[in-house]
Subunit: 334 residues, 2 copies
């Protein structure tokens, strides 16, 4: 049953709105953890693993199936479709710029890209592998992977640890710099038009950027309660609070409805919106967000301005070479 929340938190957030003028452009490289420095060999191995459907029970679903690197880094579906056509309750977040979030998954339950990469592979409705041991057996049977792991990790074994490290290293290269906003942030004041600048200023003024702060507009992956307004008619329509967020994992009352602040980078490419993918358009998403999170009803002009700015957060997608997936010669696990 929806709880009644005060709008106090929203007001506090709005009062700390980022001041225009201190805009951050997206870094072109992502920091790596001390135990997994990014190397070219790891990135290439990770590129293969990320795109390899043999990491799923059926051989049909790769990481890229739901996090499409040829598009906005997700699948434009309300709920992703895993093995045997199964669907879950959440919308796939984009993998682009995920490296700039402290926590991963909508509920932020993974503290690193490495930890995140391990999850979907053995989720029964996603990639459906029974265990990582089974994944490792499969990878070890592929000569080309033996060589690629050797190249990336020397004498370390093919394991869940090394495989997820390689995937994370690859993901740290998935960065989309040079959006119109980035050019603006770096000093090219004509990179945004008047409407886009109005949109940015409106977002700062009403409080959007209190959460969606920093270079990736994601509060670096902090948590927030969502929705804040449990009795909004829009909450009734979209049923956001059916999903208890982090509490679904921890079972703690204090974690109820806590979600990772998602990035706004490339948001124009990643409809439908919200953790349950229930809102089909960006325009509607802006209205809903202002209402259920900030207790505001925006004018059409404000919505149009914000959408115009959000479109200016679409970055440049680096040219990518397709990996050549190593084969098991003359046989298959299927």
């Amino acid at each position: 049953m929806p709880k009644i929340r005060s709008i106090v938190s929203a007001i506090i957030l709005a009062s700390t709105a980022t001041i225009a003028g201190a805009w951050e452009a997206l870094p072109t490289t992502a920091p790596a953890p001390a135990d997994n420095p990014t190397t070219a060999a790891k990135v290439e191995l990770g590129r293969m693993l990320f795109h390899d459907p043999r990491l799923s029970s059926t051989g049909t679903v790769s990481c890229a199936s739901c996090h499409n690197t040829m598009a906005g880094g997700e699948d434009n579906r309300a709920n992703s479709m895993g093995v045997h056509g199964q669907t879950g309750g959440r919308s796939a977040p984009t993998v682009w710029n995920a490296a700039f979030s402290k926590v991963q998954f909508w509920d932020g339950r993974a503290p690193s890209l490495e930890a995140q990469a391990a999850g979907p592979v053995t989720n029964p409705i996603e990639m459906g592998m029974k265990s990582w041991d089974d994944v490792v057996v499969r990878l070890k049977a592929i000569e080309g992977y033996q060589a690629a792991f050797k190249e990336a990790f020397d004498d370390e074994e093919i394991s869940k640890d090394t495989a997820t490290k390689a995937i994370a290293a690859f993901e740290r290269t998935l960065i989309t710099p040079n959006s119109p906003y980035d050019k603006y942030a770096k000093g090219n004041k004509s990179a945004l038009n008047a409407q886009e600048i109005r949109g940015l200023k409106t977002m700062a003024k009403i409080g959007c950027l209190s959460c969606h702060s920093g270079a990736a507009f994601n509060g670096k992956g902090d948590f927030r309660e969502f929705p804040a307004m449990f009795n909004s008619y829009l909450e009734k329509q979209y049923q956001f609070s059916n999903d208890k967020g982090l509490a679904e994992v921890t079972g703690k009352d204090a974690d109820e409805h806590l979600f990772k602040i998602p990035t706004l980078r490339n948001i124009a490419l990643t409809a439908p919106y919200f953790h349950n993918g229930s809102v089909k358009t960006l325009e509607k998403a802006v209205k809903v967000m202002a209402n259920v999170q900030l207790g505001r009803k925006l004018s059409s002009k404000e919505v149009d301005d914000i959408v115009a700015f959000l479109n200016a957060l679409t970055g440049e997608f680096p040219a990518q070479t397709m990996p050549v997936l190593p084969a098991t010669l003359g046989s298959t696990f299927n």
Copy 2:
């Protein structure tokens, strides 16, 4: 009920076996039909369409899902998995070098790559679109596609015709030259080792190459009855004849069990084998084929030699750039 066939046809085929010395290397370009000359713009558009899951009802299945261009051009499954996890009765043929076959699909019902490309999109268990009209509506709604079609086809509309022409133009670039066999055919006699040469000669001698002839080892896409030996114990085991081949489409007795001769290029990468994907290993496939098609029981040495040669038919896969799929900004059909 299996029919009893004579082995006369197999004997005739064997007697016309290609004579060693007249080997053909794979061409590095594929011929295009007069009404669809290959252009760079068509190839780039086709590359996008081929990899775009929005050509399926669910937005989850692209041509590349079952014809994986990062691997052997198919999915290493007995039966491909289409929308909602549905599977059919045949194993996906490789898209690599498909340009060198006169006919497409296992039953050869499509007389061109263009005609083939139209099929899976509206097949309810493959990509599940209700009609090509629906596909066209979807494509027309994507600004990036409007531009790409304009570039490729000038004033011609976005249509089933232009979309399938672009996909076919892209597929004509999917060629894997420079296998060890090709180097051998071009005069480098040390490109194949003694065992591989023995395998090739055995294949010529026993009749394999009577059907699997020409540069692509596919009889250029001629039809053959398969299996020829209906009372083989292996036929009983693998039930090849449950599928009536071309007759499933035409309903004609004369077309019963007629199949396109599939290419042997990259065969080591495309397990499992045969139209129904019932044979898991290349070694077994060689034994089965000799038995059910040529009425022969091969020695272990002969099988090993042939498998060694078939491995030498794995070509060089060209470096490929990932397409960047154009987006519908701020919305999705899903």
